[in-house]
């Protein structure tokens, strides 16, 4: 909180970033079910260490050892 004037992103840039994120979500929604399950399996591995830092894990909270 320095109060120093900073250059801010333009409304156009922010809009473009938001649209990019929306498009990414739409692309993921359009993926095949098999691709989505593969991504869930990847996300499980990515999120587990983060989750572990916040709270103790339940015994069932672990990546599934399955193929999509």
């Amino acid at each position: 909180m320095t109060g120093r004037p900073r250059t801010r992103p333009t409304a156009e840039l922010l809009d473009r970033l938001r649209r990019g994120k929306a498009e990414l979500r739409a692309q993921r929604t359009r993926m095949s079910l098999k691709e989505k399950v593969a991504m869930v399996l990847k996300l499980q591995r990515i999120y587990l260490p983060l989750l572990k830092r916040h709270r103790p894990l339940a015994p069932w909270e672990r990546p599934w050892d399955v193929e999509p």
Partner: protein, 172 residues
């Protein structure tokens, strides 16, 4: 080769779904529908989750309290272990949730039959998922966020959601 190397055989997610259908065929449950985060995955983008929530309609048991013992006995007979209120089917922890009211009954009865790798699978429709997330006992920040994602999903019928909200008194 995996056996020779003493490595567990590869399991496939479709096997878990196949077993859910087997439970219904065996008459242990009347019907089922996938709910929770995995249902969201079927309708929107993938989200991290560590279990599979399955809403179930149980056959009339003539008991004052609902019992999941039939499911647990079936699981044990098939070599699936129970783990903290979950049954681990093909390495996927599955939580069976008996339908807790008319909204859940309807969510199961109106579930969509989709296909995953050739296996038919019943999935709660997005409109009913939103309604379930809006139940007072289920309202959390995470579920509100999921309801919002479902509202944005292509094909979600907002009029049906409004009618469910009215019919089941889900207004805030």
């Amino acid at each position: 080769v995996r056996e020779e190397l003493n490595v567990e055989p590869v399991q496939f997610f479709a096997q878990t779904l196949r077993e859910l259908n087997g439970l219904k065929l065996a008459g242990i449950i009347e019907d089922y529908a996938i709910a929770g985060a995995m249902a969201l995955v079927f309708w929107t983008e993938p989200v991290p989750t560590y279990d599979l929530d399955v809403l179930v309609l149980l056959p009339e048991q003539g008991l004052p309290l609902v019992s999941l013992s039939g499911i647990y006995e079936w699981a044990a007979a098939r070599g699936y272990r129970a783990d903290a209120e979950h049954v681990v089917i093909a390495d996927v922890p599955v939580q069976f949730l008996p339908a807790h009211g008319e909204l859940a009954d309807e969510a199961i009865e109106t579930a969509a039959t989709l296909e995953y790798e050739g296996v038919p699978v019943r999935v709660v429709r997005p409109e009913y998922l939103v309604a379930l997330y809006l139940e007072p006992s289920a309202r959390t920040a995470k579920r509100r966020e999921r309801a919002a994602a479902l509202l944005e999903a292509p094909g979600t019928d907002r009029r049906l959601i409004e009618s469910l909200i009215q019919r089941f008194g889900l207004l805030p």
